[in-house]
């Protein structure tokens, strides 16, 4: 019964991603007014209109569910089921015509993220994770790569300015141990990890709508995702995220991040 319910909810989540695409792709690479929020991150009418559409769809279908979105805040957070959505992850990429922006959709059952969608509209790539099932990349099951040593690992992060103060040193300590480091991923990096193309994503300063959707995707592909202390991610997490292709690699990255 639980599996059937999860399948229905997963189907609904992918329908949400389909709907979001119609809005984001209509605005992508078109002239847009850009506002700057209080935290100076850019936001456009595309972010707002996409989130409004997703809210509408969710409210219509599941009026009893809670909802937490990047642009319009939260309601019903006391509910068992809560949707956590980021209409455009990588707004900077979006407004610069870079096709690696994504839409993130998560469904929480209690504190557990049971469904996650990483959708890349302009790349026509989609990762769907459902608790207890293999993650699917464009409909096909996918797996992380069998990488257990830091010296073999390719590490991604969206931007160096994520890492402030001591975090910058902790991140650099890890970078010195890996084979390759690349900036500029946005949520696409987590999809690449789930599909076995890279091995580590290490980020900080993320919000729940940036990471809740990643959890079922990474786990269902055989990877591990946590905060920098190895604790499970949740709505109360501190915004530091470590995703790894294997438990061994995750453990080794944790040791380096937390070394004195």
């Amino acid at each position: 019964v639980n599996n059937d319910l999860n399948t229905d909810l997963t189907t609904f989540a992918t329908e949400l991603a389909d709907a979001a695409r119609t809005v984001t792709l209509r605005y992508f690479r078109r002239p847009l007014d850009i506002e700057h929020k209080t935290d100076t991150s850019p936001v456009t009418i595309a972010d707002r209109e996409t989130e409004q559409l997703l809210r509408q769809r969710i409210l219509q279908r599941f009026p009893e569910h809670g909802l937490y979105g990047e642009e319009y805040g939260q309601h019903g957070l006391e509910q068992r089921h809560r949707w956590v959505i980021d209409p455009i992850d990588g707004t900077k990429s979006f407004i610069c015509g870079v096709p690696t922006f994504g839409t993130l959709i998560a469904l929480l059952d209690g504190s557990e993220s049971i469904i996650g969608v990483i959708d890349m509209p302009a790349l026509d790539e989609r990762w769907v994770g459902t608790a207890g099932q293999p993650t699917r990349f464009n409909g096909e099951p996918c797996r992380t790569r069998d990488c257990s040593g830091l010296a073999d690992a390719a590490l991604f992060a969206t931007a160096p300015e994520m890492f402030q103060g001591e975090d910058a040193q902790r991140f650099q300590r890890l970078v010195r141990r890996v084979r390759l480091r690349r900036f500029g991923g946005d949520c696409h990096a987590y999809g690449l990890l789930a599909a076995g193309f890279i091995d580590l994503v290490v980020e900080a300063d993320l919000k729940p709508y940036d990471f809740m959707a990643l959890i079922p995707v990474i786990r269902g592909a055989g990877g591990v995702i946590s905060d920098w202390r190895g604790q499970p991610l949740g709505l109360g997490s501190d915004g530091r995220v470590l995703a790894a292709a294997t438990p061994e690699l995750h453990e080794r990255a944790l040791v380096v991040l937390n070394a004195d």
Copy 2:
């Protein structure tokens, strides 16, 4: 006559890009052995096979032309016409499954870069520049954006480690003046500039095969491209590149890069 010749050569350059796609896309997101060159940059069989194919085609059609490629060096550099090619620009992206890698093809007439192709196989995007003609983005004429002030400019660079020593400070000085900075572009950033989505690309530590193809693309779209002293780029340039959407923006960026 000169225009007809340039049109024929441009057609041939795009045929080269078509041929390169068949190789790069065959290897993209497939398991690959990665070697590390003496400068530690990664190289794969995809880089080597693509360059071999392009060399073969050029030699067959224009045996009298010179050729300079990233992987197999140069010959005939004393010739009037010389091809300068980078089979895979953004090998790091390529080996990580990131679709923003590209193929760069330039033709020099004397010291002048008269034809440039920026081809993005996995994105199905192509910019073609021919001296004296408007740059084409996927077949359609494109223009840079009308951005003249640093405070309005979006600036891209591939990675922070490009900027060593004093260059890092010069780059940071410019970053503090612009609206937005993003890492992770590879050659795609120059295409985005030519198509009017971003306004500045500032890089260092580039080789001639990284930048010779960019020149006709940027110029034919109304932009300006030079080294950090404002001098034209050539085979003997020092690897610092500044591309701007407008002459005014280019001048202002030069002033900041060269301020004491």
